[in-house]
């Protein structure tokens, strides 16, 4: 995410940090680097200009130059300003006091509206326990209604649709009536993609807005949009008066221009970010966390949140008990693996750790999770008895398991051996003794090693 920008800013700042004292020309040089980095990242030039101006003023302030550690102060200021540029503290959706909360989605063609609708519906269901319905008002793009019905079904949201012959304004109004009658908590209205210069369609959007009086209007913006992002956002601000932005396709190698410019130009915050193909890859956008990530300071908060969401506390307690009594079985190992994988791609998790960005070998590493699949398959091919007591796995059982999971008998042996070592190690830990270094090393060496591929 924003790799290039991140690299350049980090390089500039580490140079600043390494100096004991900062002269005005040092600050000037750093500002020039930051300006170039932002411009190269497609950040709107006006935004860059005012950003670096404020930054410079603050950096040259007496409290910075006179401080014991001016370099550190500059880093702190850049972090704060970057956070401010993206919207300061995380903003929230507005919810209705009574009746359904209506959210209208708008954007250019192909920015990812329909997908964002489904992802947002899923997000609100999971995190707010809301009963969410969708309204299919894209009557222009072929099969857009089908798409919404399908993805809506996947996330468990009811979809109000009237095919493609009705007027979008009428569909929206009708869907709102339905949502009221059926006492839905939230109604998300999908609209057709439209170019901001297409006056007819922009007027239609304004009419939908007027008719259904949404509580929130969200503009979906492709993170890879270049300088044009600003023009688009301005036109949509006029026609739809949107309240917030959903940044889509943030998992690509977007340079960050759109994300960094939109708030400054329109004054509207980025509320959500979409970061992957799967419907779960959607989350609140936190400017402060994003700024830390860009500056290579990691995002431990998001990591903890993710872990909390996925890991069941009771299960964790059970596991601890089992570990203490040395009753850890292959079944438990399987559960553990699944929980970690539920947190999303391992490469994404690595990106949230502080300092990981600076580690060269991890930079372009692609953690191949499919390496974990055979392990899962092997365990799944075992009987419950075998999972609890792998010692009974001998010749014919081993052969059966290997056949069942499509691996060779040696692989089954390997897994059991690793598991035994792991258990031994845990016994040490549980008994309070420090694990034998050698044992630890052999276990690590024997573990299924993620395939690291360099690009």
């Amino acid at each position: 995410m924003f790799d290039q920008l991140s690299d350049r800013l980090q390089a500039t700042l580490s140079d600043v940090r390494s100096r004991g004292k900062l002269s005005e020309s040092d600050v000037d040089a750093a500002m020039r680097e930051i300006r170039l980095a932002l411009l190269e990242a497609d950040v709107n030039f006006k935004v860059v200009k005012s950003f670096t101006k404020t930054l410079k003023e603050r950096c040259l302030g007496a409290d910075v130059m006179g401080s014991l550690d001016p370099g550190q102060q500059v880093v702190k200021i850049v972090n704060e300003e970057l956070t401010g540029l993206m919207g300061g503290v995380g903003s929230e959706l507005a919810f209705a006091n009574s009746g359904p909360t209506v959210i209208l989605m708008a954007g250019l063609q192909g920015s990812g509206k329909t997908t964002a609708c489904a992802k947002l519906a899923r997000y609100l269901r999971e995190n707010g326990k809301k009963d969410v319905a969708l309204a299919a008002c894209d009557v222009y793009r072929p099969a857009a209604v089908d798409q919404l019905v399908t993805v809506g079904g996947r996330v468990g949201a009811h979809v109000y649709e009237k095919g493609t012959d009705a007027d979008p304004v009428e569909i929206a109004a009708w869907a709102l009536d339905q949502a009221k009658a059926e006492r839905r908590d939230v109604l998300i209205v999908d609209t057709a993609g439209r170019l901001h210069v297409d006056t007819d369609l922009m007027e239609e959007l304004a009419r939908i807005r007027k008719r259904i009086q949404p509580h929130d209007v969200l503009l979906v913006v492709d993170a890879m949009t270049g300088q044009d992002a600003v023009g688009v956002a301005e036109s949509f601000a006029e026609a739809a008066e949107f309240d917030g932005v959903v940044m889509s396709k943030l998992d690509g190698d977007a340079r960050g221009g759109a994300a960094l410019s939109v708030k400054a130009v329109t004054g509207k915050p980025i509320l959500f970010a979409s970061t992957g193909e799967k419907l779960e890859a959607f989350d609140r956008f936190h400017p402060d966390r994003m700024a830390s990530r860009i500056l290579g300071m990691g995002d431990v908060l998001s990591l903890i949140e993710k872990a909390e969401q996925q890991i069941d506390e009771k299960q964790a307690l059970d596991l601890e008990q089992k570990l203490r009594r040395n009753q850890f079985t292959l079944e438990d190992m399987l559960q553990q693996m699944r929980q970690v994988r539920k947190m999303g791609p391992l490469s994404g998790i690595l990106g949230m750790l502080p300092g990981m960005g600076a580690m060269k070998q991890l930079k372009n590493a692609d953690v191949d999770e499919s390496q974990l699949d055979p392990v899962e398959a092997i365990i799944l091919s075992m009987t419950p008895e075998e999972r609890a007591n792998p010692a009974i796995i001998k010749g014919s059982r081993r052969k059966r398991i290997a056949n069942g999971s499509g691996v060779r008998p040696q692989n089954v042996n390997q897994l059991i051996k690793q598991f035994d070592q792991m258990r031994k190690l845990m016994r040490h830990v549980a008994s309070g003794k420090a694990p034998d270094q050698q044992q630890l090393a052999s276990m690590m060496g024997g573990a299924p090693r993620p395939k690291v591929r360099r690009r």
């Binding site: 497609d42 099969a143 210069v197 890879m224 688009v232 396709k249 998992d251 690509g252």
Partner: protein, 250 residues
Amino acid sequence: MVERLEHEVESGAVAADGEAVQARLIELLAEVAGTARAPIDLTGEPAVLLMVGVNGTGKTTTIGKIAWHLSKELGLSVILAAGDTYRAAAAEQLAEWANRAGAELVRSEEGADPGAVAFDAVEAARSRGADVVIVDTAGRLHTQDNLMDELAKVRRVIGKQLPGAPHETLLSIDATTGQNGLRQAKVFAEAVEVDGVVLTKLDGTAKGGIVLAIADELQIPVKLIGTGETLEDLRPFDPTDFANALLSGG
């Protein structure tokens, strides 16, 4: 390029007045954008076109437009392959375009192997003697290696069914894309040997200047431009018109 223009003005080859400089600049821009119109290769029997690109850049719409031109204006028989088996209702969307263009559609269920769909489509075209096969693919971000590998496989599978195919691999790029577009083109070109770019959504305020960088650095010409929602809104790319548009207006 700016250096070259400066040099030409200084050496007196180009008169030092605003109009002449602008005219020369347009010439130079057009030169970078592509020397001549790059045709689409339809000599294969059947000719196989593979459409690739990032999510939401307009692949399916472009295919619909190409199919319409080939079938209604050139009278060719066209088969469309619904190779986007990932996105919900992508095949339905293509079916609608096939219907409008009077083309046949080869599809499979959602989640099916896109290579298999492409294979079947080319096979169908060969047995029925169709002129052109256009293979749609799921949008994918160029940063996702596994999806890029899948795309390379689709290309290989097509080549296996019909040696020499696909005859034309087109990459769709959204005109609003920024500097990132160059990277997209590079990675897609590495995976599937892109023959040409389709620059879509040129009807907005975006000018698609990024294709200059793509043509210059990767030698991939722009072949088609998409300028609107209707079937007729697809045109061959004209470098001079493009250079003019790039410089005109805000």
